[in-house]
């Protein structure tokens, strides 16, 4: 059973999501990975504004392939989220409500998620061709020079994700592994 979610999020929706929930996300989300995160934090440190209003938004950690003619986007699966950990607590403080990626997050991110109310979703790593089918629009809105790492606004429809860490800090990686671990 999938939960249907609209992006941007609200804190009320965030609170209904539990680790292990399968969700379909529709609406607008923003892409950013290593280089874009570094630039965003540098901009904040200089006292400048972010290139988009981050309040209630979802960031998708992805660097897509170029789109073939007639396509909206190339393959676009998630990248490893942990590399963004150093930059994430600040963005959560500013109102970021959701992240889509893959892999564990560190303690500082999970604590900030609990403090400010945010959710961490996983998309299937290595399924970029399938995920591209859920993207209806793609527009670069900042850092054009970064190529695949530029910030894009994506309009997605029924984009399939699973809640990995919810706003209470429950973690599907830990829960799932415990259920299937064999100690002999």
């Amino acid at each position: 059973m999938n939960k249907i979610i609209t992006a941007p999020l609200t804190i009320d929706v965030v609170k209904t999501l539990k680790a292990g929930d399968n969700c379909l996300v529709s609406g607008y989300i923003y892409t950013a990975r290593d280089a874009a995160h570094k630039r965003m934090i540098e901009a904040l440190n200089r006292g400048e504004e972010l290139p988009f209003d981050i309040k209630n938004q979802i960031i998708y950690y992805v660097g897509p392939c170029p789109a073939r003619e007639g396509h909206i986007i190339g393959s676009c699966g998630p990248t490893t989220s942990g590399r963004m950990d150093a930059y994430t607590p600040k963005l959560l403080e500013l109102g970021l409500k959701g992240m889509i990626g893959k892999g564990e997050r560190d303690k500082s991110v999970i604590e900030a998620m609990i403090k400010y109310g945010a959710v961490y979703f996983g998309a299937i790593g290595g399924a970029g061709a399938l995920l591209a089918k859920s993207v209806e629009e793609s527009e670069i809105i900042a850092y054009h020079d970064l190529g695949a790492e530029a910030i894009r606004r994506l309009k997605v429809k029924d984009f399939p994700v699973t809640v990995i860490i919810d706003c209470e800090g429950n973690n599907l990686y830990q829960i799932g592994r415990k259920s299937f671990e064999i100690n002999d």
């Binding site: 292990g20 660097g63 897509p64 996983g122 299937i124 061709a129 799932g176 671990e181 064999i182």
Partner: protein, 280 residues
């Protein structure tokens, strides 16, 4: 002496880049298909089905299976009776990569310097391992490697006294630490012996084997099976969400080593185990 012109090599490399990135090898596809039947987690089963569907879409639409079209890794075996005519062999391989990644709408993921991190814009340079072999053929294996799994790989210089148990512990520990990051179900290449860099190269080369490949050494064949079973007992499962399929195959390559050492390298690859070979 047989002459091969680099124009032929450029064209072959270009095609390898596109085919390897868009069409999952049949043996890997079958391994994923098989895992759907054995997966005990419902979420896990659903993920494996989507992974299979993804490979179908990629092949049908000629688009990359994964957006991380990787760093271009080559193993080139040059017959000693081959004369290469035209430009420098490495330039020709890089030109093939340049053309393949552009024509195949693949992502450029290489930065010119590990610290200043400016993208080269054409996915070059490739990492090229060459070997001189007998004969008059040129064999090129292309194995693009994504860094979600590459980042979770490791090498270790064990003491000889740690022996088999030390190797097993190191492999399991590496996979455990990797958790969900390398996009399980994974394939694991293990290089044992040689020197530090030799073990690492062996572990990478191990990942160019077919899933059905039978290790000619029965001792290591058994160890491959044992390691796979032990990894699957960790419960990490597809995408790390918990399940019975964490690893689809372990490949071991070995080389003689020094009396004082036991180098081990573990190279992890995601479920998109891309490799393609041609012989010219």
């Amino acid at each position: 002496m047989r002459t091969i012109h680099t124009d032929t090599i450029i064209e072959a490399v270009k095609n390898l880049c596109i085919e390897a990135n868009c069409s999952l090898p049949n043996d890997v596809y079958c391994a994923i298909e098989k895992s759907i039947g054995t997966e005990k987690s419902q979420i896990g089963k659903g993920i494996l089905e989507k992974i299979k569907e993804n490979a179908d879409i990629a092949k049908e639409q000629n688009m990359p299976i994964c957006q991380d079209t990787g760093m271009a890794i080559f193993f080139v075996k040059i017959g000693q009776d081959v004369h290469i005519e035209g430009e420098y062999l490495y330039d020709a391989i890089n030109e093939g990569v340049r053309r393949g990644y552009k024509e195949g709408y693949m992502r450029n993921s290489i930065v010119r310097d590990p610290l200043d991190r400016v993208n080269t814009g054409d996915n070059t340079p490739a990492v090229i391992h060459t070997e001189i072999v007998a004969g008059d053929k040129l064999e090129i294996i292309f194995a693009p490697k994504g860094f979600g799994s590459e980042n979770m790989s490791a090498t270790c210089m064990l003491k000889p006294s740690q022996g088999e148990a030390g190797v097993i512990d190191f492999v399991l520990d590496t996979v455990k630490k990797a958790g969900a990051n390398p996009c399980p179900p994974i394939f694991v290449g293990v290089g044992i012996g040689g020197s530090m860099e030799k073990a690492a190269i062996l572990s990478k080369y191990a990942l160019t084997r077919d899933v059905e490949y039978e290790n000619p050494n029965p001792y290591y064949r058994k160890m491959e099976e044992f390691l796979k079973d032990e990894i699957n007992k960790l419960g990490i499962g597809p995408q790390g969400f918990g399940g019975s399929n964490t690893c689809l195959r372990v490949f071991i390559e070995t080389f003689p080593t020094h009396i004082a050492g036991l180098p081990v390298a573990v190279n992890i690859c995601c479920h998109v185990l891309r490799h393609k070979k041609i012989v010219i």
